[in-house]
């Protein structure tokens, strides 16, 4: 994809994100015939997910990315429960579904991955409940049910191993955008806010904490950009770990340095704290992911060299 096309698409996405319509972006992308690119072009996926984070928006992009090239805009992909990237469906005679969905279509169907493949489940086969909880603006729902396999439609050619890697990378990109949003907010504030006669951003202790968040951010970007389109689980996990850590460190620093003002409802930083906390837990938070990486390496007795020269 050339830079002009990319800029046109992200420009459109920005406009739609600002309008706050959670479904319009994916409709627009599918209308433009871009669903294939969204599974193969890391730069495009990355740009859109990063933008979603940077704007603090929500959409159905993740459904599209997880679904693979057979995607139809009426589908809602069921995501794993928080803290794991295991397939949300299990075949136990029937299909047992226990997962999450972001901005689901009430008319359905749901795309549910199992370790063996993926099926479409009619929306009346599962119970979908709004999970407003910590971040009511995200559009998070729980999707639970036991469905006879006979009432499901298999979707050929989909593997959870591929989908989870695409999803981990996509969520990492969104966390990068969220980290940038938090860091920008913090930098603006410490540049303007004066105490003891000078901007608090001149204090080394403030600077170094923001620099550390920026280092995690640079690390996340580097891991993703050095492995474009990679189907490697370790690279995706490493990127997710860094992006989650960057977002968390950035928003924690922002909360600290914005002081009492930052703790008010009106200031709005709480929205970012909420969003980052939920998105970081999607597909496993940094701590869980790092432990998993360690287990994989111990299992292989090897620490592979990811980025190529």
């Amino acid at each position: 994809m050339n830079p002009d096309e990319l800029e046109l698409i992200t420009g459109t996405a920005y406009r739609l994100f600002e309008q706050g319509d959670s479904y319009a972006l994916v409709d627009e992308l599918v209308g433009a015939g871009l669903e294939k690119e969204l599974h193969s072009d890391d730069e495009l996926t990355g740009a859109l997910m990063t933008l979603q984070g940077r704007v603090g928006a929500t959409s159905t992009l993740l459904s599209l990315i997880v679904s693979g090239s057979a995607f139809d805009p009426s589908w809602t992909a069921v995501l794993p429960l928080l803290g794991t990237h295991a397939a949300p469906g299990q075949r136990q005679g029937d299909l047992v579904v226990d997962g999450l969905a972001i901005n689901p279509h009430t008319a359905g169907p749901y795309l549910v991955y199992t370790p063996e493949g993926a099926v479409l489940v009619p929306s009346d086969g599962v119970i979908t409940t709004p999970a407003n909880g910590l971040d009511p603006d995200l559009g998070l729902h729980t999707v639970i049910g036991t469905v006879a396999l006979g009432s499901c439609t298999p979707v050929d050619g989909l593997r959870w191993d591929d989908a989870e890697v695409r999803a981990l990378r996509a969520v990492a990109y969104e966390l990068i955008g969220l980290a940038e949003r938090a860091l920008t907010r913090a930098v603006e504030h410490v540049t303007e806010r004066k105490q003891f006669g000078k901007a608090i951003g001149t204090f080394q202790v403030v600077q170094h904490r923001l620099v550390d968040a920026n280092t995690a951010l640079a690390a996340a970007k580097a891991v993703l950009e050095s492995t474009p389109g990679s189907d490697d689980l370790l690279a995706a996990l490493a990127a997710k770990a860094w992006a989650g850590r960057a977002a968390r460190e950035a928003v924690d620093a922002a909360q600290q340095f914005c002081g009492a003002m930052g703790f008010t409802w009106e200031f709005g930083l709480h929205q970012l704290v909420r969003r980052i906390t939920v998105v970081e837990a999607l597909f496993g938070d940094s701590e869980q992911v790092i432990e998993e990486i360690g287990n994989i390496l111990v299992g292989r007795s090897d620490a592979p060299r990811l980025a190529a020269l």
Binding site: Q204, V206, V223, W242, I293, L297, V298, L306, A307
Partner: protein
């Protein structure tokens, strides 16, 4: 082997791996560490340096006019990665090549043509003379003076923390040709023969018990005019040119070694040991990030672009990766680490200690944070 002129870095890497495979028996001798400290290591590695030189591998990445075979920093990076991946202990002398040799090749090609082949063959060792007792992270405070004479310079002063200094034959020395107040404007880079009259080299025993560095004293040392490296009073620019390599290529070289070390740790951990798995995972994400950042930096250097202040990020990641890798190693062998005197445990202790210095040498990480705060995040300047 594919044609050397047209092959890509991936092909170059594959050819190197093939050569390593074909010479495995000879190279086995260099898959182990040796007892006897830094000096013994240097002597042990001279044979490996000769092998790599004669087979051409260490000459790639250096211009033909200074004795190389052409190519770019990517070729050098491929060598360090290939050796590390094959479990060969990368000789520490390559660290100095990556700091001093780019400077010589760029600013003093005649000196590079005279000395680089000798270094690569394992016949010479060099040192880098930047730090002084009163000039550490604040490099512009250098006091060692170089007074211009009719046929060169007269050098007086003291350098410290010279890596490989006790074995070095020559050194690149940053000296003051202006007044102390001239700060970074009055500095000049010189090539100094450490066998010259008036030079005293004293080894410094580091915290790990090894003679890792030296302090070097200069008393009316005559430096010939042709040993000027770069413009007179232009030493600061030369030093900054060097630092992008020290922070970039060195980080790449170390990540190669650290991946090898972490693989060994991973092989030692019992599956299901959560505490150690976490330590391995933590070290790995640092290494993955360091490697990813370093690829960008090495590519920038290969394309003749200055990677800019972002290279400080590499340095910070390297410091954390070093610490995390050797902390994981320590935890995985906590008992031997404390009580055993065999070579493996001694080496682990030496390396573990040295990993704690990475956040200090080459510009302390605290200073790197200042650089990023000001030049990347553009935070307001002010007294801190």
């Amino acid at each position: 082997m594919t044609s050397t002129v047209t092959r890509t870095i991936a092909e170059h890497t594959a050819d190197l791996a093939e050569w390593i495979g074909e010479n495995s028996d000879t190279l086995d001798n260099f898959r182990r560490t040796v007892a006897g400290g830094v000096h013994a290591e240097i002597e042990h590695n001279r044979e490996l340096m000769t092998l790599l030189y004669e087979a051409g591998w260490s000459r790639w990445g250096w211009p033909e006019e200074v004795g190389g075979l052409g190519g770019s920093e990517l070729h050098r990076a491929a060598l360090y990665d290939g050796l590390g991946a094959a479990g060969i202990e990368i000789p520490e002398v390559f660290v100095i090549i990556e700091t001093v040799a780019p400077v010589l090749a760029h600013y003093a090609p005649e000196l590079a043509a005279d000395h680089l082949p000798a270094y690569l063959r394992g016949d010479e060792v060099w040192g880098q003379g930047f730090s002084e007792p009163e000039a550490g992270s604040d490099l512009a405070s250098v006091r060692t003076s170089a007074r211009a004479t009719d046929d060169g310079f007269l050098l007086n002063g003291q350098k410290i923390w010279m890596t490989l200094g006790p074995s070095a034959d020559y050194a690149l020395v940053l000296a003051r040709t202006g007044t102390t107040e001239s700060r970074h404007r009055g500095l000049t880079m010189l090539w100094v023969n450490l066998a010259s009259a008036g030079v005293t080299v004293r080894p410094i025993v580091a915290a790990n018990g090894r003679e890792e560095f030296a302090e070097v004293f200069f008393e009316d040392v005559e430096v010939p005019a042709e040993y000027l490296v770069g413009p007179q009073d232009g030493g600061w620019g030369v030093a900054m040119f060097l630092l992008q390599y020290e922070r970039g290529m060195y980080a790449w070289l170390r990540q190669s070694i650290l991946h090898h070390r972490l693989s060994a740790v991973a092989g030692r951990v019992r599956p299901g040991d959560t505490r150690l798995s976490r330590a391995v995972g933590e070290a790995f994400v640092l290494l993955a990030a360091l490697r990813a950042r370093s690829v960008t930096t090495v590519t920038a250097l290969a394309e003749g672009r200055n990677p800019g202040p972002v290279v400080s990020v590499d340095k910070m990641l390297l410091s954390s990766a070093e610490r995390a890798t050797f902390e994981a190693a320590r935890k995985a062998q906590f008992e031997e680490f404390v009580v055993s005197d065999d070579l493996e445990s001694t080496t682990l202790r030496d390396e573990w200690f040295y990993s704690r210095a990475t956040s200090i040498f080459g510009g302390a990480v605290d200073v790197q944070r200042d650089i990023v705060a000001q030049h990347v995040l553009c935070l307001p300047k002010g007294g801190s």
